[in-house]
Symmetry: C2
Subunit: 251 residues, 2 copies
């Protein structure tokens, strides 16, 4: 965490940012996917404080998933008082893979194709539920994102998946800063201090990346440290995820 | 079409842009969804000319769709010689809606929720097939986009759907310029001169937008014309689709 991070100031700043954006754009509520991890727990808490828990809906989207993820998700909902919905994506995923298997063998659960399908189906689900709530409950509901600055810096997200949303809350906060905000607003410990794991394979995020989030934060804050070279390389390689290249007439 | 649009120059420019991008990034092939409309027909033709048809795969993704869309798609594949794959999304869509119906009534096929689910499932499919081809055939396959400048200007696309891809081909070309390029490279007439229709509802795109693409092109080219006010308003309202707002520590 950068020395000057003022948790009270930024927690209040985020809450004000959310309130202002919703007021200026005449929006009613926010939906978000709740994974059971700290990022979605902290975002759900901040949204509840900003908008009132009645205007926040968390969504669990199991998809051949670890059942403890779902119970951790409910810890957060109980703490902040927002509603949880569940949409099981297992049958949708299986229907898709059955069709794709007519093209080629799709049976490896750890292929890139299968791993990245899940966050894309979850993105589609977030938007589906936001549209459904707008229709059924009235007002405009939007999708909140849970990406943090460390993940974004190294491109640790799925294009068209967890990186697609209508409002970002933690995009400028390192993992340590997210934890500080979460502790400040009272996100339950089992959620806040869980080892980050995207639930898409057996490894933790840090295992897969080959670097630690704390090391990424150091690089972001301009400090030298271990893994710096690999982190800068991941960052460079991720540029295509931020800026889609396209043909320009005047070049 | 702006008076100075040089169809030969820009067709060659696009082909060179595609070749350079693939060479610089050591990519092998491109996949794209083929709707049977002109944008995907022109992009598929340009990709085939740039990369060789053996490195292009078109995907039809029917989803409770009009069967003529699929036969028009094959006209394009025959003309340019690339391979077509088919992944029927009807059962995936139905599985999803069956699960969502446990939350609320999802039976209206023309609700925003249902209309926008299709392009999001198609985006996920494009990426799934690109990953699958990378695994099965080797090399890296990416997803090509088919958005044109007029659609983009007024935000006529689905966030996380048809607007998510790895390389854009027509993003700086108005509809008339797309047609000029298509005619130049020989995209079959039934595809090139079809009334634009996203296949998501019974109306044409222009009916839904309430403005004509030719009017949008005029506004883009700085000419006054009918519908200008509505076009500028659509453009302003679409900004959230291009720039996701997020909390910044230093604001």
């Amino acid at each position: 965490m950068s020395r000057e991070f003022d948790v009270k100031k930024h927690t209040e700043g985020i809450i004000e940012f959310i309130r202002n954006y919703f007021r200026e754009n005449q929006l009613r509520g926010a939906v978000l996917g709740i994974s059971g991890g700290k990022d979605s727990g902290v975002v759900a808490g901040l949204l509840s404080l900003a908008l009132g828990p009645e205007n926040v809906v968390g969504i669990t989207m199991p998809c051949h998933s670890n059942p403890t993820d779902k119970s951790d998700a409910h810890l957060v909902a109980e703490k902040f008082g927002f509603e949880m919905l569940n949409l099981d994506l297992t049958s949708t995923f299986d229907s898709f893979v059955a069709e794709a298997s007519k093209i080629a063998d799709c049976s490896n659960p750890l292929s890139n194709a299968n791993i990245n399908l899940k966050p894309r189906l979850r993105m589609a689900t977030n938007y589906y539920i936001a549209a459904l709530l707008s229709e059924v409950r009235g007002g405009t509901w939007i999708v909140a994102g849970t990406s943090n600055k460390c993940e974004l810096y190294v491109g640790y997200f799925t294009k068209g998946g967890d990186s697609t949303y209508d409002i970002g809350i933690l995009n400028d906060l390192t993992v340590e800063e997210v934890i500080a905000v979460g502790a400040y607003i009272g996100v339950p410990d089992p959620v806040l201090y869980k080892a980050p794991n995207d639930g898409l394979s057996a490894k933790t995020d840090e295992d897969k990346l080959g670097v630690k989030y704390s090391e990424i934060a150091k690089v972001i804050n301009g400090q030298e440290g271990e893994g710096q070279e690999r982190i800068e390389q991941l960052h460079r390689n991720a540029q295509h995820k931020f800026h889609t290249p396209y043909y320009k007439k005047c070049d």
